[in-house]
Assembly symmetry: C3
Homo-oligomer: 112 residues x 3
């Protein structure tokens, strides 16, 4: 099974909850999940920025093998470059496009 988390909350606490739920899924042995991805957009991009609020959790998730993807439209809007992101974060053209593509491939969708 595969799961994508949609990270878009504008509050720090809500984003931390979202990242914790992703982390918990990597540790739940009762379910056989092969791939976990996070697609971040709008204010959800914050923890993907180097040194940003929550970025240590993103680094830890990347180390656990979670794929972390930043919405390119959001980067443009917030005037961020790929070099502003935590190392290992990928960029995708649009968050909505990537979420569609992954669900089409069979990923479950969770929006904490």
């Amino acid at each position: 099974m595969q799961t994508v988390f949609h990270l878009i909350a504008d509050e720090s606490a809500q984003r931390a909850t979202a990242l914790t739920i992703a982390q918990n899924l990597t540790e739940d042995d009762s379910v056989d999940v092969d791939d976990i991805a996070i697609v971040a957009q709008a204010d959800g991009i914050e923890p993907l920025t180097a040194g940003g609020d929550g970025s240590e959790m993103v680094e830890s998730l990347l180390e656990s093998g979670v794929a972390v993807k930043a919405c390119g439209n959001t980067l443009d809007l917030k005037d961020l470059a790929e070099s502003d992101l935590v190392e290992g974060v990928e960029t995708v053209p649009s968050g909505g496009g990537e979420l569609t593509r992954l669900q089409n491939e069979g990923y479950a969708y969770i929006r904490p």
Copy 2:
């Protein structure tokens, strides 16, 4: 591919973000999306009302070929008639039923 956006946020800025993400998807050439729908319920109904906050974005999405659907239960609860809605908006019996039906047809689900 097909995508349905769930519009339910109670804050104006969050609803504007949701509609922008839908608009961005219509413009993302990297993903082959045939149909985009928006199902609005609870406070998410506001931009679907004629002259309501965000209604110009809904008009623009309708022009782009996006299907926009209002939850009938919400209309009852808010004492709104179909004639209060932006022209071109459809009404469905329940938002939950429509979101279930569309996902069952293969639509990806995004809740900004």
Copy 3:
């Protein structure tokens, strides 16, 4: 068709809206839904606790045949025991795992 609702909102009004949308789905004859589940985690657990804010709605949903599931990680974090929950609520190892499993079985996902 089958539908799972993700109950995670931190505000009482938002949780009540989520539970109302689930209730409305049990009453929408225009869509053939066989199974409805609710997976609650983080602050969404509140209405699942005995005597908690919104617990009468959860009791009513259980009576309507809706399956209500509490995230075990959330119970640990909030120092809650299964005996603190409304009778009939099940516990699952993780909310993320259960939401993945149900979508993998074909459940539509709705996050009010």
